[in-house]
């Protein structure tokens, strides 16, 4: 059902965990399947210096979180904002059709975190 890249990111997820002194933390959940993803960002000079995630979800949700955090690490907030679920799914080499919606969680949580960070600093959310 899942390809090797997905299975690799599921069984050995990158960036899993908590940043105790994160600059911002955001969480999204999917009303449908009950999956939850929480993103921790450490931001330096408008760049994502560190990122961690926690996910309660299926293999696709965990692998997407892992891949999405890999893709935004070191990026500027503008670059990170542009990350789409399609970028994540593509980087994973594709996801099964009924599991595509699971990759939206990571994208969504990252954007929420970025906007929260802007609001905290008195900027208008994107």
């Amino acid at each position: 059902m899942y390809n090797e890249t997905v299975m690799d990111h599921f069984t050995n997820p990158r960036n899993v965990g908590v940043i105790e002194d994160a600059d911002v933390v955001a969480e999204t959940s999917s009303p449908g399947c009950g999956d939850i993803t929480k993103i921790y960002l450490k931001i330096r000079d408008n760049r994502i210096a560190d990122v961690k995630f926690q996910t309660l979800g299926c293999a696709a949700a965990i692998a997407s979180s892992s891949m999405a955090t890999e893709l935004v690490k070191g990026k500027t907030l503008e670059e990170a904002w542009k990350l789409t679920r399609k970028d994540v799914a593509d980087a994973l080499g594709g996801l099964p059709e009924p599991k595509l919606h699971c990759s939206v969680l990571a994208e969504d949580a990252i954007r929420r975190a970025i906007n929260q960070y802007r609001i905290d600093r008195g900027l208008a959310p994107w």
Partner: protein
């Protein structure tokens, strides 16, 4: 498949999804593929030999149910039997009414057929269940209307293993003169069945759940009960179910059901002991784990449990990587990722339900298998919880 392979132990604990065909059953089938391959509906002597074997299998199935051979009709499996029973019964009864009573926890073969029948103008009551998955016979009685023509309640649930009070429900159905169907696909070989005592008019079964082959099942139709035929064509199965018979499968079904029902109590006792060791071990070692279904009124092989704070598919795939094969709910809905509608009907809120894992034990399993699962499972749950923002 079990036993340790080169690198890793393999533990099959998904017997409720399907079982291997037992070597003795396969051996009984083999001559009918290549040697005794004649068409049992043929006139000539070779076909007659096969017909004799088919009728022998019919007697074996009848004996297992306390039925007469003439009441057994072979078909392609449990799903076809359920479709035929429901569609066939309500078509034949159409003049008498259009109300059907079933439960919220039936297999999709019954539920989706009922949804189809709703589109055809029938009214369906889906009875609720209690937190153990039990249907209340009084609720069945209360749901009966003047135009109720069919009651369908499964004998045992495939997800949580709860055994339903079928005899009491059958008694109510017959007191009201309403046809009673039961999906016994999960029950055969685990629950002693007597269609007389249980007041059953229609019963579905499927060979691959009790070490028989896939692609063959049967519908019991009580003598005198008229149901419309479902597959039209040749005169096979007394004209009730057309199509060249899957003769090796029929022979295999006969052999498998005789085997499965030979010593139900001994077989159940063995499974129950293994299963209780598994359940007790898991509940003791894994925090925030709960048993789904009824503690006592459950299939002897069913260990359905939930682990708060993690997802069922993730758990399943991690177990798979360790050679442990289970399922999250019923196999057929595995691709959907939805929380089991059975658990939902039992009142478990989707979020709180957490990961539901169904391990169903069977003939392949040993004490060593249970040890292995008890060894591996707690660590995997812990690992997944460590990744979770809501670790239970």
């Amino acid at each position: 498949m079990n036993g340790s392979s080169a690198h890793k132990r393999q533990v099959y604990m998904d017997h409720a999804a399907t079982t291997p065909t037992h070597p003795d059953v396969l051996a009984a089938m083999l001559p009918y593929f290549t040697q005794e391959f004649g068409n049992p509906s043929s006139l000539y002597s070779i076909g007659r030999e096969v017909r004799r074997a088919v009728e022998g299998a019919r007697m074996q199935v009848a004996a297992a149910l306390g039925a007469a051979p003439g009441e057994i009709f072979f078909c392609a499996g449990g799903t076809e039997a359920d479709n035929w029973a429901l569609k066939g019964a309500v078509s034949a009864q159409r003049g008498r009414g259009s109300h059907i009573i079933t439960t919220a926890i039936e297999h999709h073969a019954v539920l989706h057929t009922c949804e189809y029948l709703e589109k055809q103008g029938f009214r369906v009551t889906y009875l609720p269940v209690d937190r153990y998955g039990l249907v209340d016979p009084d609720a069945v009685a209360d749901a009966i209307c003047d135009d109720t023509i069919l009651i369908s309640v499964m004998m045992a649930n495939n997800v949580v293993g709860t055994i339903e009070p079928v005899e009491a429900i059958g008694e109510i159905a017959h007191r009201h003169g309403i046809l009673f169907h039961t999906d016994a696909v999960q029950a055969i070989g685990h629950v002693p069945i007597d269609v007389e005592k249980m007041h059953i008019d229609l019963l579905s079964l499927s060979a691959h759940k009790f070490y028989g082959p896939k692609g063959i099942g049967a519908l019991f139709v009580r003598d005198g009960v008229a149901i419309e035929r479902f597959i039209h064509g040749g005169a096979q199965e007394k004209g009730q179910r057309a199509g060249t018979e899957y003769t090796p499968g029929i022979i295999g079904l006969g052999a498998a059901i005789e085997r499965a029902c030979r010593d139900i109590e001994g077989h159940a006792a063995r499974l129950r002991r293994l299963r209780d060791r598994l359940i007790d071990g898991v509940l003791r070692t894994v925090p925030h784990s709960t048993l789904n279904g009824h503690p006592a009124l459950r299939l002897p092989g069913n260990a359905s449990m939930s682990f708060a704070g993690i997802d069922g598919e993730a758990l399943l795939l991690m177990l798979d990587a360790e050679g442990i094969y289970g399922s999250t709910g019923s196999a057929c809905s595995s691709a959907s990722g939805e929380p089991s509608y059975v658990l939902t009907a039992m009142g478990v809120p989707p979020r709180r339900a957490g990961a539901s894992l169904r391990l169903t034990l069977g003939e392949l399993n040993t004490d060593e298998d249970v040890d292995y699962v008890l060894d591996v499972l707690p660590g995997i749950v812990e690992r997944l919880r460590a990744m979770s923002p809501r670790p239970a």
